[in-house]
Amino acid sequence: MSVVRQLKYRIQNGELSIVDLVKSSLKKAKEKSNLNCFISLFEDKALEHAYNIQERVKKGEELKLFGLPVAVKDNINVKGSETTCGSNILKGYVSPYNATVVEKLIENGAVIAGKANMDEFAFGSTNETSAFGPVKNPYDETRVSGGSSGGSAVSVAADIVPFALGSDTGGSIRQPAAFCGVVGVKPTYGRVSRYGLVAFGSSLDQIGPFSYDVYGASILLDAISGFDEKDSTSINKPSNFEPELRDLKGIKVGVINEFADQIQSDEVKGVYYKVLDFLKASGAEIVELELPHIKYSIASYYIVATSEASSNLARFDGVRYGNRVNSDNVKDMYFKTRSEGFGEEVKRRILLGTFALSSGYYDAYYLKALGVRKLIAKDFEKAFSGVDIIFTPATPTTAFKLGEKLDNPLEMYLSDIFTVPVNLAGLPALTLPIEFSKEKLPIGMQFISKWFDEKTMFDIAYTVEDYYKFYEKAGYGRF
């Protein structure tokens, strides 16, 4: 039985109390502080919350998330606590309101354990751009966690919490999930409210769940999704994600050969073909897809994402909140505040985006990128007319060494090559950890389904998971 289900039964049977579970979570968080996956830990508050939920359960309330602790990425606002986005400019900024997903977590009986470390403003794929230092991979502390939701991924991978929320703009949930060996889901754009998520690329951002296993990720997504009148881009679609084992016979699985060719690590490649063989052996039909515009994904993505980011980050000007570097005139105050407050990668992306939007370049860059984006979405639409699911690797390699790509942003950007097209098209996708490499580094694969068809994605991933049972190899859920 999957780990999160077991925890559910143990809690329901009274074998495990919510308070003990949360206590043990907080204890582990402190023991593993060297991993640096939390920016703030809600010790007293979490415990108090755990008691409350225990009371609610005793009164017979059925809670979707039954008291499990959750780590929340530090770009999601939790009332009364710091929202730093991993940046110096927001160090000490206390949010006066809850993000919609946080309201939903509370309503559904999750206990927020703390705020997870992240790349500064989610700009990065290694979690090394955080002003609070890098997050370390629990399977090898000399390696990166991946990013930008590195803290969230590690908080689950290090078995501190069964749940975490991240945000995914170009792979920021799925890539660290692959590097750290946990399940990570990027929902369909519009499935989860972005209200209270500090925006990076507004048209690409989605909040999504991390968990030990597919079941866990599915119930967490179920709890946080739904239309929100505060987010005009959220969509009202009924959901029931609880996964069931599927007979894979006759299921049409799309594969993208261009992707397979771009896998850099032989071991990742090996696992990719191994899973493909398993799917074939289970009776699935493999369909080779042609996505002619997908090769422009990274180029298009970095223009759209940085353009939106350059505008989204304009509000951090030192006028109303955050850290201000004073000066005798406003303009100089802006320069100093933003020069000192933002890190290198943030400045790089703001400059890129500002350039792409500036007059004389807008048509050549931003508009063209939007055009390409539409073509990529069309490619997927066409592809999905013939397949039920698309199967790809999640990353070209396993987790790399700390510092390895920090000075080479282009190479770092390429680590998102398999995940980025999904955001451009607004599709849902899931990273499923399959096996460990020889160096005991997790290797994960990606399942992409049709818009708002997360159920198929969960079902098929659940079926594959049931065969490889990565969560057993990882030994998750020791509470």
């Binding site: 999601i76 005009s232 939007l357």
Partner: protein, 471 residues
């Protein structure tokens, strides 16, 4: 060489919605500073905008009133620039596809100025400078605005004035904007250039800001036209710049810090879907459209037989037009109603800086007063004399006239007696009159009126005096 000015106006009108453009905060910008704020209008990290449907409805109303084409799909964009009163570092506005395009503002039957577009946007916060500190009040941040952009069709300050008067009247009729320039609920910037008459291409334009009243707009534009022509005539060149109008000196001058050329980096607002309106929604709004000032004026001319200029003035404010219409109908004498309202009533109201809404004189009372004139109970003069008191107290005019003993004297014998007395008392004048100086007739009338304290019926006085003098 003769010059021609080319003028276009950009008017920002604050919409009278209860809540802000993209959040549910109240729009009462005069409340205690920073009390009507929330994460959205304060630009907090993570907050998202949601379009106020009421504001959209108001913009459509304006579009219908000005005969614009209403775009069924319009798009919000971000206008990016840094300013302390702009919390997000961008203003959400409409750029490439506005909600309304084209249309015109008709200023009278024969004159109209075309519109370029009307778009929806949010207001910025308000900066206040105190000593060396700048304070910002975010109550205004996010209040809905429509920007009404004219085509460069105007040629003089007077054109601009007429345009604004009618524009404001219509916005107020629609009940979508207060139209108060002093409080800033209506703001106007003017783009002005001059060119030799007959030349097609436009001259270099300047932009005028800080225009706090319609009269200032007119004066500032006329000043600026004169200035530009003088510059060109003396061999100089117009610099494209923003200029401020100083109403005390009646001159324009360049803004202190030369504004750098802004690149606003407009792009579609990703936090909002395109704004989609249905034909049905537009029809619903069309059905509820009120009669507009010019339509009303035309009807008044036709229905009440008053002069067009009077109808025009009476219809600029809907409340005044309604007031007039009631009095006209109740009294059955629209002309006198028009005269008394335009002279007496407006004088009293202006003196107290009150609007018709706050007027304590009921329409029924004023109608009664007019009836007293019509049935010759009192003269027009008496009516005007007692107007201030009636205005203040709303007292029944007949009662007041009786109390004060002001009933008009229509008894011919009584009047004849007074006339005789007057003629007897002024034999010299009678003789001069009889010798041909007929201009003295008015003198005798005046004397009779003085004797009767204005109560004698003037027609009867005339008749009897003529008769007596011809004897």
């Amino acid at each position: 060489m003769e010059f021609e000015a080319v003028i276009g106006l950009e008017v920002h009108a604050q919409l009278k919605t209860k809540t802000k453009m993209f959040c549910s905060c109240k729009t009462d910008f005069k409340d205690e500073p920073n009390t009507n704020t929330c994460p959205v209008c304060y630009g907090l990290p993570g907050a998202l905008p949601v379009i106020n449907k009421r504001a959209v409805e108001f913009a459509i109303k304006a579009g219908l009133a000005f005969n614009c084409k209403i775009n069924l799909t319009s798009v919000f964009s971000r206008k990016n620039y840094f300013y302390p009163d702009l919390p997000k570092g961008y203003q959400i506005t409409q750029y490439e596809i506005p909600i309304c395009e084209g249309g015109e503002v008709k200023v009278d039957e024969n004159r109209a100025f075309r519109l370029e577009r009307i778009h929806l946007e949010e207001d910025a916060a308000k900066s206040m400078h105190k000593g060396n500190k700048t304070l910002i009040d975010f109550n205004r941040s996010g209040i809905p605005l429509i920007e009404i952009v004219s085509k460069p069709d105007m040629r003089s300050g007077k054109d601009a004035y007429d345009y604004l008067v009618q524009l404001r009247a219509i916005l107020r009729y629609l009940d979508i904007c207060d139209g108060n320039m002093e409080e800033g609920s209506l703001r106007c910037d003017a783009n002005i250039s001059v060119r030799p008459k007959g030349q097609k291409e436009l001259g270099t334009k300047t932009e005028l800001k800080n225009l706090n009243s319609f009269r200032f707009v007119q004066k500032a534009i006329d000043y600026e036209i004169k200035r530009q022509i003088e510059v060109i005539k003396s061999g100089g060149r117009i610099v494209q710049e923003t200029r401020l109008y100083d109403d005390r000196k009646n001159e324009t001058r360049p803004m202190r810090s030369k504004e750098e050329a802004h690149d606003y980096r407009y792009f579609p607002e990703p936090d909002l879907k395109p704004l989609v309106i249905t034909e049905k929604e537009i029809e619903e709004i069309r059905k509820k459209m009120p009669e507009l000032p010019l339509e009303k004026a035309t009807r008044f001319v036709k229905e009440f037989g008053i002069k067009r200029e009077d109808a025009h003035l009476l219809t600029l404010e809907k409340e005044l037009a309604d007031y007039f219409e009631e009095v006209a109908k109740l009294s059955g004498n629209p002309k006198t109603a028009s005269a008394l309202i335009q002279t007496e009533l407006l004088r009293e109201l202006n003196a107290e800086k009150k609007s018709v809404n706050e007027c304590s004189l009921k329409t029924e009372t004023l109608a009664k007063l007019i009836k007293l004139i019509d049935n010759k109970t009192i003269s027009m003069k008496i009516a005007k004399d007692i107007f201030p008191e009636i205005y203040k107290t709303n007292k029944d005019p007949e009662t007041l006239v009786k109390e004060k003993g002001l009933l008009q004297i229509t008894d011919e014998t009584a009047i004849e007696e007074v006339c005789k007395k007057v003629l007897e008392a002024n034999p010299k004048q009678v003789e001069t009159y009889k010798n041909g100086k007929e201009g003295l007739f008015g003198f005798f009338v005046g004397q009779v009126m003085r004797e009767t304290r204005g109560k004698a019926n003037p027609q009867i006085v005339n008749k009897i005096l003529k008769k007596l003098l011809e004897e």
